[in-house]
Symmetry: C2
Subunit: 369 residues, 2 copies
Amino acid sequence: MIKTIGVIGGGQLARMMITPAQELGLTLKVLAENEGSSASLAATAVGDYTDYETVKRFAETVDVITFDHEHVPLPVLEKLEAEGFKVQPSSSALRFAQNKLAMRQKLSELGLPVPDWAEITSANELQNFLDKHDGVAVLKTPTGGYDGKGVMIVRSVEDASDWLVKGKPLLAEEKVDFVRELAQLSARNTSGQWSSWQVVQTVQKDGVCSEVLSPAPNADGTSAAIIAKRIAEGLGVTGVLAVELFETKDGTLLINELAMRPHNSGHFSIEGSVTSQFEQHLRAVADLPLGDTRSVSNFAVMLNLLGVDDSNTFVEHYSAALKVPGAHVHTYGKSAREGRKMGHITALSNTSIEEARQLALQAKEALHA
Amino acid sequence: MIKTIGVIGGGQLARMMITPAQELGLTLKVLAENEGSSASLAATAVGDYTDYETVKRFAETVDVITFDHEHVPLPVLEKLEAEGFKVQPSSSALRFAQNKLAMRQKLSELGLPVPDWAEITSANELQNFLDKHDGVAVLKTPTGGYDGKGVMIVRSVEDASDWLVKGKPLLAEEKVDFVRELAQLSARNTSGQWSSWQVVQTVQKDGVCSEVLSPAPNADGTSAAIIAKRIAEGLGVTGVLAVELFETKDGTLLINELAMRPHNSGHFSIEGSVTSQFEQHLRAVADLPLGDTRSVSNFAVMLNLLGVDDSNTFVEHYSAALKVPGAHVHTYGKSAREGRKMGHITALSNTSIEEARQLALQAKEALHA
């Protein structure tokens, strides 16, 4: 029986696992990057997650390893598994979240809906791809990108010259003419039980999620859930799986990105669902039965709080935000930096998504007054 | 500005403050009685809370002191206050929660509805009280009692002989012929803002709370709230105040006990209200604006999980309980002991209190299967 869960990474996702771990009677231990991390309350180790010995020493103190982020090198995880440590999601699943080329390849094999794509290793190949797609492509580094980093829109081979010289394979994707972005959250436990939340709409600003609406108004939730289930099972994902989707004008869904951990698009579930994504992730990786994912109110809206500059205006204006009835203000205990995810606000409504949005916005405006 | 809150006592109430402290961006530190307490995650000190020097050393590490229980000796708190440490609730309020005679005296002065009572220092005085009340009285030790301890029903002076010989004053109360017990939770911050939740019904079994129904069906919520507000203001309470009430056949409410901290009758608020009693307590003692106390669903039921014996059957049957949709199982991380509060289950319903109760019961039965 799993009693102690180890999380690699001390960010806000690890932080938000602390509560459900306590409720479930599990012990959570965190390997943080540095002292004073978001998840410092549960940090039992501080060290470099790319160093096998560091990760191994941490793994020896827990029953299963899981993640706050997907940046632990695959060889480190494979070696852990070879030595008998439990890793959830396993390296065989996680490699598709770490490497966008491997992901595109696998999803295509499974016959799942993806934008047209190609592996690019030369200027010629990129030119061919541009020629096939009206002279425009989204070029991505297969690994290491997040929140808009490692992504570039190119209209010529010259646009990509910096990246092409490095000689590493790149991923080119068609620039999808989408009308909005959705995210399908679900979870699968190590016994294979799978469960999803309602599909949500995500609003991005400068490549970073700024707003999540639950449920996504008038969305094809059934198709989104089927896609998520096929990915979870096809890739052998355990824990929470976030599938980011493009919705095109005719309602077609195309898979954009995957994350195999709790995800920004699921923060609404803390107050909005019977079981939050953080509790579900722990249940899934500890092989407990999955919890009820029904909504507790008809509508929920989540707004991210991004750092405006180095000064932490949140603290200053905090009292004002706490006065807004029905708004749940979450802070991540981070020092402020421009564009950094500092916290989020969730508000619920039984009346309309707009009412929930207005409540959340009122609290956000109070914070930034 | 208050950034660090110190809780004296490492029980489940301190444990359940850890989550909202993190959400609010506050640091919670706990002075626990021993290693491995329920609140060990936040325990920064272990020591004897009756020892002034121990408590003072802890107080020096926080911005304000508050409580998991009401057993810190008054002289310890008065000395802390005299030295300039912030204590919430203050000793001048807390003395009414620590001493039932002082509480009865004060509530009577305020003209609030209490059972008939008298201070008893001799067999003669007890006989007089019995003569006035059909030969029956509830005798209480003014301090130290909880969960049915320090309370005795007496029908003769002989019944009380053990207690009378000690020569300490006792509290005699009329045995109220109540139809049910209610509890009114509210909170008052250090600026004087006050806010209440809906009145709940509590069901006791062998002197220990076994079940809470929110809201109490067909109860006089307005009277209960008015009583709570007058107590909070009249006694200068800060933080959460729980007022336990008797309801008589004609609907009259009489004040039974007071607690100036989060209370078992308010656990439903974690899932059942926009703001839980634990978050509200922290807001109140940190002088932040109080949160919204509205319910998130029409009905909530909380069932306590009491230890059956020394073996922890919860762990064994845990998976089964986690399968019940909509039931929130909370564990306190305690070693098992007969009658000990080991955890609780909350379930919500928009349909009926009975539906919520059945859901919670289903999970409880699975645990004890």
